[in-house]
Amino acid sequence: MSMVTTFIQAQQHVDVDALLRINTDLATKIIVGFIQDAVTKVGYTRAVIGLSGGIDSALVAFLAARALGAENVLAVRMPYRTSSEASLTDAQAVIDQLGLPSLTIEITPMVQPLIDLFPEMDSVRKGNIMARQRMIVLYDQSAAWHGLVIGTSNKTEVLLGYSTLFGDSAAALQPIEDLYKTQVRQLARALGVPQSILDKAPSADLWSGQTDEGELGYTYAEVDRLLYLLVDGRYTVEEAAAQGFDLAFVERVWRRVRLNHFKRTMPNVAKLSRRSIGHDFLYLRDWSG
């Protein structure tokens, strides 16, 4: 009697956590090269980064210091009067660990007059004003320090539109915008971002106790798995739900991605001539370099 071994592989859910794992050495090499290239090809040697005390800007500071030398990366802390003390000290830990030149510019006197004009102003409006004011400070330092503003957006928040148009989204280059938040965490850990930053809950720090995940209504780990399937994997909403997600959750997330697409594109230009900016006058951004 012969022995027959039968292998049966039951159809299982895709292990998205495994797909989201990145080789941090390779990511570092590509991103550090990208920053060096993007800064030097337009004739600059320096960069300006707004350091919030959170993981995204800390990671970008580590990458930029590696690419350009710490002495060429200006870290700017821009607290508002309600900003937490922990944000300031965590940002300072990054500055100290890397040896970055730094500035602390309080934005309260710049934004408060506008906020006070509208007593009924909600926290979204206030948050947008703060984000845009920080952009103004960074771009002013860009001119003063002669450094390019490096953005700190990640793929998760940009897809979800959890950002302020012309505020935190304004930058000359975006080194980590193709990394999901869970991948940002992997890279930050590998590069030695301070433990207190790795451990704390992500927050825009607009009011006491605010967290991204509390506001969004789901965790980054959960939504990153879903976004990976929908965006990188090109799954349909139904196919993604079949991977073990609640269909209503999938639909809600995908709708949010769609409704925020305007933040990821340039404004539409009304086409009139035969050759129009934004339509068929096509050159790389690097053309100017």
Partner: protein, 290 residues
């Protein structure tokens, strides 16, 4: 017979033909100093890759009348070194091609126009370029070679055609943007290209020389990793990933005979059967609108 090959894994500057020509001439001098008899440059090495509306400014004709090409022809003029160059070819009728030229002894031996223009995801080549319409092997002083450009060898048929057209050494070049970061130490695109190139060398018992560029264009990274693969499918030379490099490697062309004696795939290849079946298939696709 031995052949010393150079792979110039450089970073072309977008739209700046003068700067790129200078870099080519420097690489040629360096390769000659190391004894290279053949030097490959990457796809669109004279112009940069994602040219968009710059296509019409950087196009040239590969003749001695062109001041850029004249200098490259002169560099190959003494039979010290043969060259494979990437450029935008134009036919004076406002048709532009992604092109590779093989230069030897001060003459253009062969020009290949890219036959597969990727126009999907981040690629938009079909918007700007005309499709090449032939795949031909050609004679060189080292034997019969064939050239393909990037997407040409993502399809299986062009390497097959070169093989049955009697090419024994395949010269591939590319401007391959890196994508597919995961837990591996190489990007998905780099793994895929190396996999298929090893497959071609193995299936066609031929040498595959692949030169890929490095650098960045608008956030795209080009991963380098140029390779020489022998007729047994083994990598004999691999350039670093993501860094400029000039790789010099001497290969033994007699290995082609030794491998084919062990594994006579070429001897047994039934080209006429392939042609007959292809003709039938094309006829059926046409008849039944499949």
């Amino acid at each position: 017979m031995h052949l010393t090959v150079g792979l110039a894994q450089l970073y072309p500057k977008i739209g700046d033909v003068a700067a790129n020509l200078k870099a080519h001439l420097a690489q040629i001098e360096a390769a000659k100093a190391h004894g290279a008899q053949l030097l490959l440059f990457p796809e669109l090495s004279l112009t940069g890759y994602n040219l968009q509306d710059l296509v019409y400014e950087v196009a040239l004709q590969p003749t001695a009348d062109n001041p850029t090409f004249r200098q490259l022809l002169e560099a190959s003029g003494d039979y010290d070194i043969d060259l494979m160059i990437g450029f935008v070819d134009t036919d004076r009728r406002a048709r532009y091609f992604i092109a590779a030229a093989y230069l030897s002894g001060g003459a253009v031996v062969h020009v290949h126009h890219k036959v597969y223009l990727p126009t999907y995801t981040m690629f938009d080549e079909g918007r700007y370029f005309a499709w090449g319409d032939s795949v031909r092997a050609f004679e060189t002083r080292f034997g019969r070679f064939g050239m393909l450009i990037c997407e040409d060898f993502w399809h299986a048929s062009p390497p097959y055609l070169l093989w049955v057209d009697r090419a024994d050494v395949f010269l591939f070049h590319s401007a391959s943007p890196g994508r597919g970061l995961d837990a591996s130490d190489r990007l998905g695109s780099a793994r895929w290209v190396q996999l298929v190139n090893q497959a071609y060398a193995s299936l066609f018992t031929s040498y595959v020389l692949h030169c890929n560029r490095v650098g960045y264009e608008d956030g795209l990274n080009f991963w380098g990793g140029s390779t020489i693969i022998d007729p047994d499918g083994e990598i004999v030379c691999a350039a670093p990933m993501h860094e400029p490099a000039l790789c010099i490697q001497t290969i033994d062309l007699n290995q082609i005979r030794r491998t084919r004696t062990r594994l006579p795939l070429l001897r047994d290849e039934r080209t006429a059967l392939t042609a007959r079946e292809l003709a039938r298939i094309i006829q059926e696709l046409h008849e039944f609108r499949l």
